[in-house]
Symmetry: C2
Subunit: 385 residues, 2 copies
Amino acid sequence: MRKPRLMAPGPAPVPEDVMLEMAKPVIHSRDPRTKEGIKKAVQGLQEILKTSNDVAILAATGTGAMEAAALHAVPPGKKALVLNAGWFGLRWAKICQAHGIDFETIDFEWGQPVDPNRVAEALKGRTDIAVVMGTLSETSTGTGHPIEAIGKVVAETDALFAVDGISGVGAMECHVDAWKIDFLCVGSQKALMLPPGLAFVSVSPKAWAVIDSFEPKAFYFGLKAAKKKLADWDTPYTPAHTLIFGLNKSLDMIRAEGIENVWARHKAMSDACQAGVKALGLELFSARPAEGLTAFVVPDGLKDSDIRKKLDERFGITVVGGQDKLKGKIVRIGHMGYNDEVDVVGALAALEMVLAQLGHDFEPGAGVSAAQRALIGQGSPVGAA
Amino acid sequence: MRKPRLMAPGPAPVPEDVMLEMAKPVIHSRDPRTKEGIKKAVQGLQEILKTSNDVAILAATGTGAMEAAALHAVPPGKKALVLNAGWFGLRWAKICQAHGIDFETIDFEWGQPVDPNRVAEALKGRTDIAVVMGTLSETSTGTGHPIEAIGKVVAETDALFAVDGISGVGAMECHVDAWKIDFLCVGSQKALMLPPGLAFVSVSPKAWAVIDSFEPKAFYFGLKAAKKKLADWDTPYTPAHTLIFGLNKSLDMIRAEGIENVWARHKAMSDACQAGVKALGLELFSARPAEGLTAFVVPDGLKDSDIRKKLDERFGITVVGGQDKLKGKIVRIGHMGYNDEVDVVGALAALEMVLAQLGHDFEPGAGVSAAQRALIGQGSPVGAA
C-alpha cells in the first residue's frame, strides 16, 4: 500500500469533500447558481482576507493574479519598487520586465526577511514609485515577511502596496485592510485547499483611484472589466466555475474552523516542525520562518534528492528541494491547508527514519518528541485541549 | 426528479469518468507523473488537432489562449487584421485594443460566413499585416467559418493565421497543419469535455520565426517560456494539473471513438438539429451553421426567455439566448462534446412541447421525425448501422 501524503508548499492536499463537490455535473457558467457561487466565494474571501475591498476571481494560477496587479499598478512614467528576497519576490521583477514596466529592486539575502526600514529609506522623497511589490510568504526560502510593518511604511506615501500572498494566505495571519494591502494576490492550490486553476486579487479604493487614472494594458486580466461584472456577481470571461464551487466548500470548512483557528493551527504546525527539525541537528534556512512551510539546510554529506526520494518511495511523502540558487541546498516541508499536527509529527517521524538510513547522526525520536512538546506546550489547538 | 441536461455551446457536459479522474488525490505539480500527464496531453492534442506544431497548455480559459496568440503575433510597427463576424471575432479586436496592438477589421454581417475573397483583397499588396485573426466556430451566431479556404489565402502571404477554435475544436473538422493555421486557440470546456480552466495554443514554425524576431510583452502567457519548459514536459508556472489529468481521460475517449468519428457525430447532430428546427417552422440564424451548436431565430410573438425558462424548469435542459445585439433574437442549442444523437432528438422533443405550450403553430412531432430522418438518411453513425 502506498498512501500519498502531499507535504509540499503547494500544491497542497485537497479535502475529499472539496474534490467531490467539483465532481458534480457541470452547470452553465451564466446559470443563476453560478452567480450565487461567485457571490458566496467573493464574500467568503473577503471574510478570511479581512477586507471589504473588491476581490476579483481569475481563471489562472497565482502568477496571473500578480500579473493583473502589476499591469494595473504602474501608470505611464511611474515605476515599481520590488522587494526581492527570493525566487517569488524576483517574479515581480520579471513580470515588470516582460511588460515593459519600469522597476527597481531592493535586494535582500535569501532567507532573510525584508527590512521595513530599508523600504522606508528607499521611498523617501520619491514621487515616481507607484507601487511597492512584496511577498507575504516567500515559498522559495520559507520566509515570512513583515507585511504589516511594510504596509505601514507604504501607506504613508502615495505608492500602492501589492503583496503576493499565494503561499501565505490561509497559512499566515493577514489582514488586508488593517495592514493597508492595496493588491493581495492569492492562488487556489495552497492553504485554500483547492487544485491549481483559480487566482484572486483584492483591490483597495486607493488602488482603484490609480487604476481609473490611466488605461492599463490588460484584457484577460483586466480589473476594470472584472469590477464591472462583479456588480452582478459575474466575470468578464468564462469563469472556472467548478473550481469556484470547490472553493465554496473549502471556505465552508475554513469558516467552520474559524480563520483565527486556521492561522493558529498553521502556527502550531510551523513551530512543531521547526522544533522537530532543529532537534535532529538540522539548521533552519530562514531567519523568519513562514508558517506554511519549513525549510532546512541539507546537512553536509547528504543529498537533498536522497532525502526526498526515500521519503517518497518508502512513506509516500512529497516534500520539495530548493529552487534556483538553492537547488540541492535545502529541503522544504509544506504544512498548509488540509494538513494537521499529526501530519507534521508523522512527517518528522518519517524524516527521522530516512535520515537514520542515510547515516545522519542524531538521537532517534528527538525530532518527534520536540514537535510533541511544542504542540503541547503552547497555545496550539492541542495545548488548549 | 430533475435530470440536468447541459445543451449550451459551452460549458458543455463532462463525462462522469473525467470528473472522477479529477477527483483523485492531488499530487505535486512537478511530480514525474505530472510530466507524464503533460506529455500525454500535448501528444493527444497534436493528434486530434492534426498537427506536429508545439502545443502550449495554459491555466486559463480560451480567451487567455487568444491573448497569448495576439501578444506574440504582432511585432512593433505591424498590424493585425481581424475577421469580425460576431461577438467572438470582435474579441480579437478588443484584445488588440487593450494591449495597444494596432489592428483593422473586415466586418461581416453576423450570421454570415467570412468570405475568403475579401480576405485576399484586404491582404493584397500589404506588408504591414502581421497576422489575420479568425474564428473556426463563431459561438455567438452559430456560424462555421471556412478556415481551410482562408488559411490558403493567408499562407500565400507573410502574415500569420490565428484562429479561435474554442467552440469549434472537437466539434468541427480542423486540420491545423493542412489548413495552415499558425496559432490555434482552444478552450477546455467545449467539445473537449472538460470544465473551464485550461486553454491550449498551437504554434507553427512560421509563427515561431516571428515570435523569435522580437520581444513579445507577455509573461503569464509567454510562449517562449512555455516552449522552453515543454522540452521537459513542464510549464513555466504552476500547471492546472488536475484538469490536465481530466483532459487525458477525455482524450482517451476521443481517441477510442476516433476524431473523424467524433467530427461525424457532431455533423450528424448538427444536421439533425437543423432539420428538426426547420420542420418546426423556425428559421436558422446562420447562413453556414457551425457543427457544435444550432441557432434559430425567435419567432414573432414569442420571447426567447420563455422558451429557455420552460426548457429549463420542465425538462432540466439548458440552452442559451443571444449575446450583445442578438440578445432576445435567437436561441442557441449546444450539441458538442459529451452529447449524442439521442440528446439532440430529446432536446427537440422538449422544444416541441415547450413551443406548443407557448402557442407556436407547428405540426407536433415534426421536429423529432425530421431529425430522425436526417440521422437515418445520411452517413451518420446511426445511418451507417
